[in-house]
Assembly symmetry: C3
Homo-oligomer: 342 residues x 3
Amino acid sequence: MKTNPGRFFEDYRVGEVIRHAVPRTVSGGERALYHALYPARGALYSSDAFARASGLAASPMDDLIAFHTVFGKTVPDISLNAIANLGYAEGRWLRPVWPGDTIRSESEVIGVKENSNGKSGVVYVRTRGLNQHGEAVLEYVRWVMVRKRRDVPAPDPVVPHLQKAVAAADLVVPEGLDFTAYDFTLAGEPHRQRGYEIGEKIDHVDGVTVEEAEHMLATRLWQNTARVHFDVTAREDGRRLIYGGHVISLARALSFNGLANAQMIVALNAGAHANPCFAGDTVRAWSEVLDKAETSAPGVGALRLRLVAVKQGAAPFALKDGEGKYLPEVLLDLDYWALMPL
Amino acid sequence: MKTNPGRFFEDYRVGEVIRHAVPRTVSGGERALYHALYPARGALYSSDAFARASGLAASPMDDLIAFHTVFGKTVPDISLNAIANLGYAEGRWLRPVWPGDTIRSESEVIGVKENSNGKSGVVYVRTRGLNQHGEAVLEYVRWVMVRKRRDVPAPDPVVPHLQKAVAAADLVVPEGLDFTAYDFTLAGEPHRQRGYEIGEKIDHVDGVTVEEAEHMLATRLWQNTARVHFDVTAREDGRRLIYGGHVISLARALSFNGLANAQMIVALNAGAHANPCFAGDTVRAWSEVLDKAETSAPGVGALRLRLVAVKQGAAPFALKDGEGKYLPEVLLDLDYWALMPL
Amino acid sequence: MKTNPGRFFEDYRVGEVIRHAVPRTVSGGERALYHALYPARGALYSSDAFARASGLAASPMDDLIAFHTVFGKTVPDISLNAIANLGYAEGRWLRPVWPGDTIRSESEVIGVKENSNGKSGVVYVRTRGLNQHGEAVLEYVRWVMVRKRRDVPAPDPVVPHLQKAVAAADLVVPEGLDFTAYDFTLAGEPHRQRGYEIGEKIDHVDGVTVEEAEHMLATRLWQNTARVHFDVTAREDGRRLIYGGHVISLARALSFNGLANAQMIVALNAGAHANPCFAGDTVRAWSEVLDKAETSAPGVGALRLRLVAVKQGAAPFALKDGEGKYLPEVLLDLDYWALMPL
């Protein structure tokens, strides 16, 4: 067999480091496509001039371009036979990705736990994205439920202890970042970090109806090869499942309207793809301020945000029902830290 | 409220200058997408080598990339609550946009006139696109009908006097442009400016059936955020209205077949989006030669053209009915100057 | 008539060289779009770092970007009035195309043969792609059936003698290419050229359901202007015919799964677009190893492959029926040489 069947639950060993295939050089082409695929308007990722006025050498690649690129490489080794993507934790952006950088990924298996049915199990990996200098640009923990293929005994369960959220003190601010001369008019909104209250909720107003061609272009761009996104014969219902990351980027871009100054994502605390998204769905978003922090960089604060993506039919600020289950119109519940002028 | 509700008629003051948000750096990525979205084949915007043989440092960004980028930034401040985009005038391209340039926009309010119904009014703005050096790259006047929100008295009406067309003497030819060594074979057609007659009409033959994914990719690329283009719930009929600029670019690209040497748009004299365009429509175009002029640059002439976009069902050279109303199959009626080898 | 009606059979003369219009500069934008349009993962065309470790200055543009760009330019002169694209032969990639290169095309008419019905004929051309230095980057022979327009006598038939396949000794390996330090993990699969057997068949597993927006974006990107790809009114059945090259690129990208190390296409021996492809079709691919060869470059071998694209409903390894006719589910039968680590 020359083709890759993907790994099954019994193929993972705690401590093993998997080097993922196909490094990728990113450039202005990926940036332009990102802006065509998502209504992204964050000034720092749109303008070299704005980024320079903020102390950076140029506009870096969008934080979620880095995430999708790193994530996409892990799919053939981690989630080709996954039943479900269960969660994210301890995600940190460690260094900007610049146009021209070449990104590769590697994952360490940090936990395995077979399910009681004996037919599947949960695999925990800590994934790192590395640039061409071998420097880490991003790391995060992800856990997925993976099928078993062979009838082998269950491994000793190892469940990693994961932080509920990245501590503010552990956030990495890009070298040189300085928001003391921040131009709020050019950025699009007047709101500083100190203008947001913990518990405040924002309805981001806008909506986007999703097309098949769009999510497939996006998912291929990140070299994510999971069949269910591309092949109508892959699922019994004949529908192509939209890559969860597409919904993350849509919701993040929609959140510009109300969070235009939440410029850079620096941590991913948690995330759940609550319900599947399909072409024809109209995606909207709302946010809740979860926490606030200062950083050591001049004028730079941090905001911890819950970002919720919903589809048509959702009530305002829809999230969970009385039993704590996500409502059927909720697509995504993401918890992240972003940098913002103080 | 953290989100931007947009401006209403009563929020505009004559003389006010609005600096629009989100500067944007454009690159080879935007160019490649432009060529994927529109059947653009103008040699000067396709080839560095051709542009150099024409006296330029390299191939600039397409003239309409400049237009859409500048225009898109004005949407949140000018047309978010617009009922209709009424017209354009006095548009001039002042300087090429080069890959790597960062573009921002600002608009001066030059007129306001409340409608007799007291519920809306017309706002006139002169918009300028500026590069990272603060140099103007493009300017044009646009007027839109905007809703009133509050019951306030009508302002004193100010209606600017606008030129019917940019005078040939006011056209700005890019520095260095020289068509004396123009390669007509590489450009695609043998026709010089002097081979066109005033009054001549050209049917551009080709047609393009438009898809939802395409016009949304394009409109997002220019950071144009008007809901009606993206969200099926925004209009009562559940249809996404195609951004008028998408039709401009489609028609201009289709006009290559017959106007391959009309290389650079340098003025926008007038324009009307005669009827809405929706996905599934098949767009065609025809042109009429309105005027001809020389320029001071070697070998460079100018042609004033009417560019008409129509959809399926249109008769040849369809435009208006007996009462001077646009026929229902007419999408666009644009009046512009282009540079062409003499 | 200012518009181009295309050439008809009687317009071709053996020995004539046609310089095709609209040179094109390609960049990281075209590369990013290529990766968004096709599930391409070949490491050499994805990563500057990988390409440098293989002895090249940087990652070249994908081999099929070169092919489509050169091919697209020939359409207005060669196949605008074509009834059918009959075949390819003697295709060789002669030099990498680098980001920033400007590509133009020219074709020599090497054969003409009128059909017995007197209404059409076969035209043979040898097309060359040239970069901005005038160096050939690609050449291939193509023959098409073209309509006659005027009732003129048949020309003396000239049918060129074409090689069944490019000889291994005639393959051109890019200067500097060296696979002795090849990283099989980063490339995605462990299989060397010597691990493939002549006659071996590989089912590439994955499938892609094609959308209208995708094939139109792709076809426009290569400035291929044939109406049938874009205009629902161009064919009686109201369907847009997908550019055959789109199927080539889809199948080649799908073949990564099993042929990840078949890094660079260096020759096109033959090709047939067996049946039309339409939006909604789900494309899959399989390959057969036809031949193997060494090259003079360190660690670099060559594999001759048959690449077959099929659509939904195809049996495993579907190709021809008992009478040698392509089965209706077969879209493409391509014969090419690729470079691979020995």
